[in-house]
């Protein structure tokens, strides 16, 4: 985990379609929120991307870098108080495992969708 104790993985399921769903709990006391923002705690969008990457790393047992992000949409605001539990669904393309897609959701709310390309760290 790049940013230590930013979140905790509560559950992990490998689905029959090859995707993996991680349930994570955000750490509302993390120092990131002292700076983002002092008067209003909002989970930085890039921290959502980082969590997605770390879930893909866990699912594939590889250390990865996003070399491309074709599209990443932030469709709802994540806050550690308002949305402390998140599901992160990650999938790699069976035909080309460098192609990945991910969704962060909880209940009926989708927080982020992402499609990109990963490469193994040197």
């Amino acid at each position: 985990m790049l940013i230590k104790d930013f979140y905790y993985v509560e559950n992990h399921t490998a689905e029959s379609d090859g995707s993996h769903v991680y349930t994570v709990k955000l750490n509302a006391n993390h120092s990131v929120y002292q700076g983002h923002f002092p008067e209003r705690h909002i989970t930085p969008g890039v921290c959502n991307i980082q969590m997605i990457k770390e879930c893909i790393e866990d699912a594939t047992s590889k250390r990865l870098t996003f070399t491309a992000i074709d599209r990443c949409r932030l469709t709802a605001m994540v806050t550690p108080e308002g949305s402390p539990i998140l599901n992160i669904k990650v999938q790699t393309d069976p035909a080309d495992t460098s192609k990945v897609s991910a969704t962060i959701f909880y209940g009926d709310t989708t927080y982020m969708t992402l499609s990109g390309i990963v490469a193994e760290k040197q």
Partner: protein, 144 residues
């Protein structure tokens, strides 16, 4: 030749609401109503640094805060309050070189592609020593 710096370090805090440990812009080189040039020197203590390497997510945050610096400066110069801005969308991010390392000076140039209501779409290119490290397009939502 070193670039002229308009604002550096704490001076950036006039324009953006982010604070340590999430402050990812430490220099403002130039700014207009359509363009901005910012910088960040990668330090060992940066929260996005692991084993001396600056993660791509840190680089994306640096680009997002460069857009926020652009918006914040233009609000400040026009006597408007500085508002919170969020990434709404990242498109066509491409890493074109190795990730930045501790000690590297990242310089980012951004320009407005379109602006409508509270959404600004900008083009971004980040360089180290004149070589492109990453490009992307970023849509920023300003919470006005």
């Amino acid at each position: 030749m070193a670039k002229t710096v308009l604002y550096a370090g704490d001076g950036i805090k006039t324009f953006i609401p982010q604070r340590e440990p999430m402050l990812m812009v430490d220099k403002l080189f130039s700014v207009s109503d359509t363009d901005v040039e910012t910088g960040l020197t990668v330090t060992e203590s940066n929260i996005f640094v692991e084993n001396g390497v600056f993660a791509e997510t840190g680089l994306i945050e640096h680009i997002a805060q460069s857009a926020a610096t652009f918006a914040g400066y233009n609000d400040w110069i026009n006597h408007r309050p500085i508002v919170l801005g969020y990434i709404a969308e990242i498109k066509k991010f491409a890493l074109q070189a190795s990730l930045p390392k501790v000690g590297d000076n990242i310089e980012t140039a951004m320009s407005v592609i379109s602006q409508a209501m509270n959404i600004t779409l900008m083009n971004a290119e980040s360089k180290i020593n004149g070589a492109t490290v990453a490009v992307c397009k970023m849509k920023i939502f300003m919470d006005k």
